[in-house]
Amino acid sequence: MKRRLCNYALALAACVVAVVAANVLFDKPDPAAQFLERKSHDKQEIIGLFKSRAQMATTEVKLRRMGIYDSETNFATINPASWKLGRRACIMPVDITIKYGIDMSKLHEGDIRLDSSTVRIRLPKPEVIDYDVVQRTDRREVVTMSGWLRDEVGEQTMQAIKNKVVAQVLADSTLFNSLSTEVRNNTQSLFRSMLLQMGLKSVFTY
């Protein structure tokens, strides 16, 4: 009798230990606190320093891409990180404005030549000059779903989805190539109009 009671007491103690251990061991880190802590020490990256530029934006493209995240597609038996109890999904539009153009600092000596009243310009390759992501989320356009014991889809996940989509769009060479002719034409038009006002004609090469 005494021994049985002793066993029960031990089992109950094991339960308490398991619950406490689960809380201590698997306590989620607080990313906000971690960020503020890092911010007070991290001086490695130098940002906020103004630099003189000569970037000419000649084409503005507004685009939209759907950000679709579905946790279920990630399930992998060998990866415990994907063993989630339930599905989590979010579909949201991501609006980006990209400005393409040329970097005039890449115009070297000899790239601009004057032949009587005609200026011959060898233009550098078009590139992304600036981009602007609509950071505020219009919740009416977002569809979210989260299953049993999964975190809800909130601002944290939505902004992470946006960052991923933006990185994908900027790395999309097909998109860039399809726009490069337009960007070149607009760059030429801009230079042509500037030079015309100066009483000069223009010829462009690449």
Binding site: Y8, A11, V19, R53, K162
Partner: protein, 183 residues
Amino acid sequence: MPLLGSVVRLLCLLALVYFVVRWIDANEAEELEVKDTPVVIESIKPIGQLYAYSAITEDFAIDNVEKVGFFSKKYYKAVQTLRMKVSYVLNLDSVEYVRKENSDTVVVKLPELRYTQSSQGGNFLCEVEMANYDAAKAISIVEQKVRSKYDSPENRKKAMTNVRNVLSAFVNQCGLTPVFVNK
């Protein structure tokens, strides 16, 4: 006594389930993957803007957010970060070039520079996911902070000096001499 045994066994089982659930839930290393979807181009328009003076910066705003649980409300600290490109931009369509007759001198009439800032990404950091929290207010605070920090008369002056240098180099390469005046 058999009842006590059953209760203890049930508690042991619940503790085990709780342990496993917490362990699985703590595995937040789950990589957030976004599916490949087509890009929809909504508009393309020609512009003429000279980015003369730019910086990439990052700033943040702190907010206390409230989450209502089963038994109580809990407050969490949340941080909204934004990475921004701040620039002084010259609208090239508004620049006038007037060439003096029988001369290599061009009078370049420059408009005011425009301060712009573009959001290049951000993160919302909080211990828990907030489904009902709208970060719009925190984003506005960060944008305002960045603007007040970088949009200054000194920076504007330096930007204008660089605009003149860039345009001067270009006009000189075209065989002309620029004279700058404010519009």
